[in-house]
């Protein structure tokens, strides 16, 4: 088991390195840098001005060396200008003595995530703040999604082919067919607009950042939860129907155990192994949903900074966003693997 986790962590690190390099490569392509220079400087810059701006701000040089600097394995760049020394590890122009004292390496390995050109702030503070908002959203999504999906799946799967099964399965197909930007728009139209008249909820979740309550937070949570719910429910249903046809369930029935007890004591535990991995693997999709819903409901969280950073080619913020999301995805994959081994005695013992 230890070796398994170690190997998986190794692969995970390699994946993260490859992915961040891909993001780094794409954001540092010349047209992107040119756009960055023009938005930071001014839009009528000549080609030479762009080149000198890029060089003065450390965007020159080869891709690999810049990536090494960002990672913190190569020394950060320094430039000597009229105003003093500037560099990756210094804020603004400083004197020669201060420049000498500044650390040589400052990448993410040293805990320095860089500076956001879009928000004019340290990347780490932005990420920490916005991640908290999204964490709250995700928490409530999971609280709503997981129990209801499991209940729907178990109810549908315990009597295959019944009316309950048919209607619940159709409902779960319907929710998987409704992407967030469709269900969100329908919810906003029905529950918040003055045209329909049911003003039950608020159409934006902006106020939920400081003061989340049922009125302003339920719709975004529901929108994300619905899309994932159908899929988990269908997986639970499939695994439940499989368990319900197993020999030991038949034995229990022939012994005269009540249906109620069969479902709760005999079937449920075995039926929940497969959905567990599915729930964990849903995280990448949830991340997608978060981006859409945060845009739709104007909730300034992690997804919102992804859109802002990507739209403005804010390289270091974008890299931090991808590091965080890639780690969320990879860690949930790891947990799902470990959990599967742990929950399934057949694999655990052999």
């Amino acid at each position: 088991m230890g070796l398994f986790i170690l190997r998986r962590s190794g692969v995970m690190l390699l994946t993260a390195l490859c992915l961040t390099f891909i993001v780094f490569f794409l954001t540092n392509l010349y047209p992107n840098l040119e756009k960055l220079a023009k938005t930071q400087g001014n839009f009528r810059m000549s080609d030479e001005a762009v080149a000198s701006w890029l060089d003065a701000n450390g965007y020159g040089g080869s891709m690999v060396s810049k990536y090494g600097q960002w990672l913190g394995v190569l020394p950060g760049w320094t430039r000597e200008t009229e105003k003093g020394f500037t560099g990756r590890c210094m804020t603004g122009a400083v004197s020669a003595e201060e420049a000498a004292e500044a650390p040589t390496f400052c990448g993410i390995l040293q805990g320095d995530w860089g500076y956001s050109t879009r928000f004019k702030d340290e990347v780490s503070t932005i990420i920490a703040e916005r991640l908290g908002n999204t964490g709250r959203l995700m928490f409530w999504v999971l609280v709503l999604m997981v129990p209801s999906a499991l209940i729907i799946g178990v109810l549908a799967g315990m009597r295959e082919g019944s009316v309950t099964d048919r209607s619940l399965s159709t409902a779960s197909i319907l929710t998987t067919a409704t992407p967030e930007y469709v269900s969100g728009v329908i919810f906003i139209a029905v529950f918040t607009s003055s045209t329909v008249g049911l003003k039950w909820f608020k159409g934006t979740a902006t106020s939920a950042m400081d003061n989340p309550n049922f009125e302003n937070f339920f719709l975004p949570v529901l929108t994300i939860a619905l899309y994932g719910m159908g899929y988990i429910a269908r997986m639970t249903r499939a695994s439940m129907t499989e368990v319900m046809t197993a020999q030991y369930i038949r034995t229990a029935r022939l012994k005269g155990v009540s249906f109620h007890n069969i479902v709760l004591k005999h079937a449920l535990r075995n039926a929940l192994i497969a959905p567990f991995t599915v729930i964990m693997l849903q995280f990448p999709w949830l991340l997608n949903g978060v981006v859409i819903v945060e845009t739709l409901f104007n909730y300034k969280g992690f997804g919102w900074i992804l859109v802002e950073a990507a739209g403005n080619n804010d390289i270091e913020l974008l890299l931090a966003v991808s590091v965080v999301s890639v780690f969320v995805v990879l860690i949930t994959q790891l947990i799902s693997d470990i959990g599967y081994v742990y929950l399934n005695p057949r694999i655990r013992i052999s």
Binding site: P31, K35, T178, Y181, S193, N288, I292, G311
Partner: protein, 404 residues
């Protein structure tokens, strides 16, 4: 003129869609009449769920095709008519002449364009991209997944790692990185197109070669002919205006313009490529898993004993036996591609801003959602019903293929 009542709007829309109803009736009558001779497709008409799903899908397919032929639409989807901004459904057209259709059936959007015509044109945007993107994703996934599952070992490890790498990316981040004008200017999507579109050639080439390997006469006739046509199409696809890649810094010449029958606009190409790119790793994983399962069967061992080549076994023994789950996944994948295209439109990526595709229309409409519902809701329901239809169709197919 008086505005139309709800009933009149519904009646006029149904009338406007009459070619679609006509085609659907013919298709269903023919399919149900001959269903015993049509294999899996015919069996679909035994399951009510499959029939409903197929009906929904074909409804949008016909709407898209006839819409592209300008048969259903009532107005030009790009023309703005003054005085029609955000007008409710059924409003008479402002200053309509004899030649114009006198009403905006589903109202006007925030730029005073006809919502109904945009909806119909939007169906074509989906129908022309989504199935083709799914086909290409399957070609890539099958061509790589079969050898990965069959040979295993280092090839499998490398390919699986690459697939997991793409799958670990949040899709939206990938879209934001790939589908921007700046990236298009660097030519990255063109490189990706050149690489991704090779897979169908490899697939068809290997497929035919392994089949007719023992009959060189047939092979020498068929293979160059088919490959020639496909490669010509490939070159037409990847070369634009005589260049494979045309960036300000450098350019690589491609097919001369004389032989280039069609050009794909850069925006569509990058959307297409990124959708294929995002979908193929999942297909790869499914094909690989199925291959791992099927290669232990007796008929594969029999083929190996007969001395068949590995590609013959993969493509003519394993692949046909994996078709059930693959067909089901193909339907789901078209649905997922539709959702992805909508997502791209929703974030305003790739497609031109005035494009009538459903994602962009939803995005335009949502800004005024608290006052005007009619611009955003029709495309939302359209997307919903198409994807629902594809999911139901997949469910029906799965049910029927399990009955064998």
């Amino acid at each position: 003129m008086e505005p139309l009542s709800t009933l009149e709007i519904a009646g006029r829309i149904i009338y406007q869609l009459s070619p679609v109803w006509f085609s659907l009736v013919i298709l269903y009558a023919a399919s149900i009449g001959f269903k015993r001779r049509l294999g899996l497709y015919g069996k679909l008409f035994d399951s009510p769920i499959g029939m409903i799903g197929f009906g929904l899908v074909m409804f949008w397919v016909f709407t898209g095709i006839y819409g592209a032929m300008d048969m259903i639409i009532t107005h030009d989807p790009l023309v703005q008519v003054s005085g029609m901004k955000n007008k409710v459904p059924g409003t008479p057209m402002n200053g309509a002449t004899e030649a114009d259709y006198p009403y905006y059936l589903l109202g006007g959007d925030n730029l005073a364009r006809d919502v109904f015509s945009r909806l119909v044109k939007g169906a074509w945007e989906v129908i022309k991209i989504a199935p083709m993107a799914a086909v290409f994703a399957f070609m890539v996934g099958i061509t790589l997944g079969l050898p990965a599952g069959y040979y295993g070992g280092r090839l499998d490890t490398t390919l699986s790692f690459a697939a997991n790498l793409i799958l670990a990316f949040p899709v939206i981040l990938l879209f934001y990185l790939l589908v921007t004008p700046e990236i298009v200017a660097t030519g990255v999507p063109n490189y990706m197109a050149i690489v991704l579109f090779i897979f169908p050639i490899v697939f068809v080439g290997v497929l035919l070669n392994s089949r007719y390997y023992t009959r060189p006469k047939v092979r020498n006739l068929v293979l160059p002919l088919v490959l020639g046509i496909i490669i010509w199409f490939y070159l037409q696809l990847v070369s634009n205006g005589g260049y494979l890649i045309n960036t300000p810094a450098y350019s690589i010449p491609g097919l001369p313009r004389v032989m280039d029958m069609f050009d794909i606009p850069g925006g569509i190409l990058v959307v297409f490529v990124s959708v294929v790119f995002v979908n193929s790793p999942t297909v790869f994983r499914i094909v690989r898993g199925l291959t791992l399962d099927i290669k232990t069967r007796d008929y594969v061992a029999a083929a190996q004993t007969r001395g068949e080549g590995p590609w013959y076994i993969m493509l003519w023994e394993i692949l046909p036996n994996a078709r059930g789950p693959l067909i089901v996944d193909f339907c789901l994948r078209i649905g997922y591609t539709t959702i992805l295209l909508g997502t791209l439109g929703f974030f305003g990526l790739g497609l031109p801003p005035e494009s009538p595709d459903w994602g962009s229309t939803i995005n335009d409409g949502r800004k005024l959602l608290s006052i005007y519902l009619h611009p955003a809701l029709p495309p939302a329901f359209a997307l919903l019903t198409l994807v629902l239809g594809l999911n139901l169709l997949a469910d029906g197919l799965r049910e029927e293929s399990l009955k064998d």
